[in-house]
Amino acid sequence: MVDLTQLHDAILRGDAKKAVAVTREALAENVSPTELVSKHMIPAMDEVGRRFECQEYFVPELLLSARAMKGALELIRPLLVEQGVASVGRVIIGTVKGDLHDIGKNLVASMLEGAGFEVIDLGTDIAPGKIVSEILERKPNIVALSALLTTTMPFMKNTIEELKKAGVREQVKVMIGGAPVTQQYADQIGADGYSDNANGAVAIARRLVGG
């Protein structure tokens, strides 16, 4: 019988191959998918987050653990869908217009996927109009916006204004982040959430979907 502490450890170590292999074995042995997620994988990611907050882990470790988590979740998700278990929430994420920086955005996207969110990554240099059309088409719970430069930050405000004009602002929660972005700015433009790091972004996203 498969030793499920190995799944926990593989995620903690960021060993994607091992995490996928153990998950496959467990599913073949008919271990409940929800049990795998709630008893082994989420506690492992929570521990990763704790180590990051204590500066025992840094961004690379965070990202490798999220990758391992994502690999295992890809096997599990179809089974959860079959059982009618909904994803934690759907997020569309992108870097705002004029800004091609994607590192922070990629990191947050990976962490959200690792936390069980369905993430649609629109990429960089995303015009407000594109966000509006994606909201209409994909019906996300959350819109996550990134900017690295103070020159491009105003597009976060523009995007929120466009969402209001298009009448879709109330359909989504908006969270923002990026090196120059602050909680004060989030309050100023009426964003629903802000975090200064990718681990914190997961907590914000969970709060925004009421989880």
């Binding site: 990202l63 490798l64 004029g98 590192i103 103070t150 090196a179 602050t182 700015y185 100023q188």
Partner: protein, 247 residues
């Protein structure tokens, strides 16, 4: 006027040239390039210390040779002498001669990275500031080889592609010629770097007039913020970039 100028060394040649032509007597103190990478709290602390050290009553104004620079001047306060601060996101505004020129160029050239003499010859990329940089502190300031050594080949490839390859967020190098270059060595170096990375290269003429107005004392409120003693700098996130913090 007798002025004190505290500036990032990125402007070394341009400020020396402007000061040499200025009707004012300007004492310059240059600080190392790269403070914008150490986080806004640390950058602020360093700048505030230098501003606070300026002898009271000696100067008619203290000029701050910085833009908003990743919020590194947010919260900076004037001590005994008023501060004059360019309304600029960063140094490129001053090199191009105004924030509208910068925004026009920036928005029509996505993924542009700028070079000037100071960008090339100033700063110590292996020194103290690199050790203190945010990139270093969060574990992203690593070469591909260092990643392989620490995390193994497969993980290194993934990390490199996802978050460590800082270069892929750019597609163009633009050399700003300021008229302070001895010859074409800086331009050539930029052109070669662009070719090596497979990026576009462009040379544009800079405009030193805003730098000249800065040291000459032509401080139009549209272009410069004046912070009286006790006042504090705040970001506006609007077109005027900075303002006084509400008391």
């Amino acid at each position: 006027m007798h002025l004190k100028l505290i500036s990032c060394e990125i402007f070394y040649r341009e400020l020396c040239a402007a000061v040499s032509r200025s009707p004012n007597t300007v004492d310059i103190e240059f600080l190392p390039k790269g403070l914008h990478d150490i986080g806004c709290a640390s950058m602020l602390a360093r700048l505030q210390e230098v501003v606070d050290r300026v002898e009271a009553g000696k100067y008619e104004a203290v000029l701050l040779g910085y833009g908003l620079c990743n919020n590194g001047i947010v919260g900076l306060s004037a001590k005994a002498t008023r501060l004059v601060v360019p309304r600029a996101h960063d140094c490129i505004t001053l090199f191009l001669g105004g924030r509208q020129k910068y925004l026009d160029y920036f928005s029509s050239h996505p993924g542009v990275y700028f070079k000037t003499t100071g960008w090339i010859e100033r700063g110590d990329s292996q020194g103290e500031l690199r050790q203190l940089s945010i990139q270093r502190r969060i574990g992203l300031d690593m070469s591909y080889e260092e990643l392989v050594e620490k995390y193994g080949e497969d993980n290194a490839r993934y990390l490199w592609d996802e978050v460590c390859d800082l270069g892929r967020n750019y597609r163009q190098l633009t050399f700003i010629e300021m008229g302070v270059e001895p010859d074409d060595r800086f331009e050539r170096q930029t052109r070669e770097e662009a070719a090596a990375r497979g990026w576009e290269f462009e040379k544009v003429k800079g405009d030193p007039s805003m730098i000249q107005r800065f040291v000459d004392g032509c401080w139009d409120a549209q272009e410069f913020l004046i912070v009286q003693p006790g006042g504090r700098i705040a970001p506006t996130h609007e077109e005027d970039i900075i303002s006084l913090d509400a008391p």
